[in-house]
Symmetry: C2
Subunit: 657 residues, 2 copies
């Protein structure tokens, strides 16, 4: 039998040593949860440190990410090569795998970036859901693993954490276990400063299996982990712990969370624990006990490898896990572009057409929607993923956008599935913290939004994005598409699905988008981000730059301007980030030297990138209002007539200069 | 005794008539909650339609804002002059007080803008908290009213709603009542598609008083409302209702939510209900019964007016409710500017200095903080506002940023207090949907953020904002300040507190900010948004534009450049929105014609407003990393040396052109 207490103490002292070495860090979690982590690793976790990317591994999420040394110590002791002693000595330094908060490095066992409280457990729900869906598709021979999340008080106070509890219980994600560090302390001090609710009762109300236990009692932890594994519901282990346990000066106190520690603290802790080893030194016997995880995991992985060799689904499973699109993808994408309607149609509906067409050939697409099935219309032929039926490709997430965003991160990080999140663009602000995580992690998630502008109509300014496009264009590594019509919508989907290293956002219209591409669909023109949709007849006197439904307005204005003898080009700009990535020559040719008018039913902020002093912008200057879409476009002056007037004035000014 | 059923039917038919007239709308809520609203108004609500702004009125919040016709019908029937029959006939039209979703119009009885689910109940928590705080300050003679919130399933699924439940229970906000429209239907259909939790149990776990009742049983509603009033805890009335009740074709069905209705539906409803009146017509007897509210409310208001005339706190209360700063404010503001430290100091600490100095003279400032008391340090002399002690000026909100933002909206909309929200800028994304509501409503809330850049250091990219400044600069009506030092921080506070019609955001540093203003503090220079901090010696060859802690870098670079003979000006730009509002001449003089370098430890997005083609930007090009602040500034090349190099090259290029 392993000496689990010593395994736990090894975590404690590696954490202390790394924090002392770094000069700062959060000791509360690694010291408080050391026993929980040690029991999990000794007897329950399925993972093979020799093959960190083994698809059927259990997923471990440190949702209380500030306690990152818990995770790094665990990974080091378990034998993950990338988390060497040297790596521990670079804790919190540039380039270290041991960053201040866990940053996704799956080759090192860091499954997902955490640190913003609540994100981790919400991602864990996504991981558990991904496992359930893949298990239904490929069977338990290939897919049968669990998700374990270390959880702090803060994660459970955050709304996204509450959403996670509610939906995980509803969907009965039985392979999901939360290990709650119930230490009665947050950064401010006693948790009673801000919470007095009965947390176990809250979980039970949501249909969870709950066990309350002493988080330092090794036998109790072992029993509870076994009970969690056996129960068909998701499990909460409410582990009563002492924050910073083992540091006499700080344990159980507010300062246990992250107050600076000293060599004297270490000496006291060593005396208390009987840990008589130099910094970063772990005795061979303790390392041998930790080796049990690799032994058990290695055997499991080898058995899995043998099983899967004979499994008919193995090749497809491998493709899915690698994130490769299926053979014939290029042809399929071309078909989708060709099949896009040439009739007026909301781009959200055109997106639904594409999504529906992909349900069969790309079973990895998994649609998540926040209670807007009818107005976004992306369910169609897909069945619902439910507690009873895991085969469905559509998740009714309820009115829980933030969770939905984090679940997309968890699903994408898990692998094997491509999450497609659907809601209104006004609700993107709810989802945004999770979308930022997708961008930061470079995860291939697709965020589809309808109701992208004042075109929403009478639901009014709360529901009318005016600044949200700009807010996401400002975000690194997020490709923001605002397609002009059904063809550009299909193109955006094609590009997004081919992007493996970051998320994409599609901002789509509720109202009809007039077709602007007609038969011009041999090539995916959106790939260059912006392109000349209609060149001027003769030398360009004016360039109209537009996105989304305003491209058709620009085209109408161009007709009128050309009729007046003003040679006008229209540039469609569905994705600024892609245009930015083109060479200078291409960009210069597209934008031209003539006066420009930018047109977008949104705030101007950011458009100065494409507009020079003297150029014009036609769009919004503040929040929207409540009326029909047509009335609002007229009211706010976003019309072909106004573009024509502005064009006339600009060209006259240019001539007179 | 009034005929409450007929009062309820009047709501129903006004809603049907207005929706038919508008051609669209959500009938589910007004028809399903008509009895609840009628009983509330007949027997419990304290309000005087003749004086909608009476400070001691009960607050009514329609959190399920899509059901706006419930509120408009109620206000119309209660006698709010602005909600006339004509106004009902303009439902969902431009300029109507009856917008698609409720838009704040307190003169018309619309207390707050709602529609994004969850915001309303979270605002309601803020309103109830404001009442409790003001009652502690001014006594029940002046302040003794309740907050009633109509609540849908969606509001309770949203994380922000869950945060609201948790904190309201913890703080024992006993004058807060949620009226839950438990109709088992959301937009997607049966609520069982996405939720199966025991909602009453969830509220009980958070310490709420819960009553479950038939939401169409008038006597039961009356009893439950009385019980809610009597109970010292916040109350949930779980009202089992039938969505769209009274419309035979749609009631109790998914389509009841908002499927289009027809004159034939109205005819069937009229036949079922026995409502034989023309559209928008309400019989005198029914109007008379509705008049009870005005009678009761008018008497209460007159009694209050008489009482307050004799109250020693009345004048101060009136000042507070009017949102006026105290006499002597200008002198106080000058003192704060003069008192700002000239030592290196984090701007978040300088902000804490100001906040602490205001605790006495401006008791209306109420600080809300999300479990970051120590690192943001804005509590100081303030006591905590708790369930036991309502006099405190500091609310420990727990790790619930989104709720905190919405509470600020509720507090500001309530009046009498000035909310000051404090957390890290990386968590602004959690708070953002509520901050957008503050901007949309034009509420004077102050959002203070620390840890504004890579200066955060080793906590890494999750905690390092790079795009968040830009994302808020894109938001209409949000004044974004990034002060350079303690003086500019005091100036930003001064401006923010003087701004009555919109929110302000302060982005402040964790790390020391070098003082740049020295003794130059006779005038609040930040009022113009940007200003020449140091003019070039001689004709400007170069202009450095910077914000926040990077202003000191620009000053250091200027010294080096001037030493090389390059005449360099430094422009501090603490608030772009204010600078934008200056006249062209001032802006041109500040920016100058010389080559420019923009400097900000953030993404360039938006800086093109101030930089012309050929100008330079020194800042971030992606997410941050984990290391000490100094190491990160060096790593990302945001240094005085790099500014000097760029300046040299720019000036050489300009000369050679």
């Amino acid at each position: 039998m392993p000496d689990i207490q010593q395994m736990a103490n090894a975590i404690r002292f590696l954490a202390i040593d790394a924090i002392l070495n770094a000069g700062e860090g959060h000791q509360g979690v690694p010291l408080g949860m050391a026993e929980i982590a040690a029991v999990l690793c000794a007897n329950h976790l399925k993972a093979d440190p020799a093959d960190p990317l083994w698809p059927d591994r259990d997923r471990v999420v440190l949702s209380n990410g500030h306690g990152s040394m818990l995770l790094y110590a665990l990974l080091h002791l378990a034998g993950y090569e990338a988390v060497s002693t040297e790596a521990l000595k670079t804790f919190r330094r540039l380039g270290s795998v041991c960053a201040g908060h866990p940053e996704i490095e799956q080759h090192a066992g860091v499954e997902i970036t955490t640190g913003l409280l609540g994100q981790g457990i919400a991602c864990a729900v996504g991981m558990a859901l991904a496992e359930a869906r893949l298990a239904a598709e490929f069977g338990p021979v290939l897919v049968d693993h669990r998700t374990w999340a270390f959880v702090g008080d803060g994660c459970l106070q955050e709304g996204v954490g509450q959403e996670a509890i509610s939906l995980a219980g509803h969907l009965r994600l039985g392979k999901l276990t939360f290990l709650w560090d119930d230490n009665h302390i947050t950064d401010d001090g006693d948790t009673l400063l801000s919470i007095s609710e009965d947390v176990p009762a809250r979980f039970r109300a949501a249909g969870w299996h709950v066990e309350c236990l002493d988080g330092h009692d090794i036998a109790a932890i072992d029993t509870a982990l076994a009970a969690a594994t056996a129960d068909p519901r998701p499990s909460l282990l409410a582990c009563r712990t002492t924050i910073a346990r083992g540091l006499p000066r700080l344990q159980g106190r507010r300062g246990g969370h992250s107050a600076p520690i000293t060599p004297a603290d270490r000496a006291e802790a060593a005396a208390l624990t009987g840990w008589q080893h130099p910094a970063f030194d772990v005795p061979a016997a303790v390392r041998a006990d930790w080796g049990r995880l690799a032994e058990r995991g290695g055997a499991a992985r080898r058995a899995w490898t043998a099983r899967q060799a004979a499994d008919p689904g193995a090749a497809d499973f491998a493709r899915r896990v690698a994130g490769r699109l299926p053979a014939g993808w290029a042809g399929l994408a071309t078909e989708l572009r060709q099949a896009a309607t040439a009739e007026p149609r909301p781009t959200i509906a055109a997106s639904g057409d594409v999504c529906d067409a992909l349900a069969g050939p790309l079973p990895e697409t998994l649609v998540l929607c926040a209670d807007l099935e009818a107005p976004t219309n992306h369910k169609r032929g897909r069945a619902a993923f439910t507690a009873q039926d895991r085969a469905g490709g559509y998740v009714h997430c309820g009115v829980r956008e933030h969770l939905m965003g984090a679940m997309a991160c968890g699903i994408a990080a898990h692998g094997g599935l491509r999450p497609v999140n659907v809601t209104y663009l006004a609700f993107a602000d709810y989802e945004r913290p999770a979308m930022r995580m997708a961008a930061l992690m470079g995860l291939p998630a697709l965020f589809v939004f309808s109701h992208d502008s004042i075109g929403v109509g009478s639901n009014g300014p709360t529901h009318q994005p005016v600044e949200i496009l700009a807010s996401f264009r400002a975000m690194p590594n997020m490709a923001v598409f605002r397609p002009a019509d059904a063809v550009e919508t299909a193109e955006a989907w094609e590009i997004a699905l081919e992007t493996g290293d970051g998320p994409s956002l599609l901002a789509l219209s509720r109202q009809d988008a007039m077709p602007v591409r007609g038969a011009d669909r041999a090539e995916n023109r959106s790939r260059r981000g912006a392109y000349v949709l209609a060149e001027a007849r003769g030398n360009r006197a004016l360039t109209l730059l537009a996105t989304g439904t305003e491209v058709a307005l620009a085209m109408a204005a161009r007709d009128a301007l050309e009729a007046e003898g003003i040679a006008t080009a229209v540039v469609s700009m569905p994705c600024w980030e892609l245009f930015e990535a083109q060479d200078d020559g291409y960009r210069a040719a597209v934008l031209g030297e003539a006066p420009r008018i930018g047109i977008e039913a949104a705030m101007q902020f950011g458009w100065e990138r494409w507009l020079r002093p003297g150029d014009r912008f036609i769009g919004m200057t503040g929040f929207g209002a409540s009326d029909r879409a047509e009335a609002l476009y007229a009211h706010f002056g976003i019309t072909a007539e106004r573009i024509v007037e502005a064009g006339r004035a600009l060209v006259a000014g240019a001539v007179s200069r």
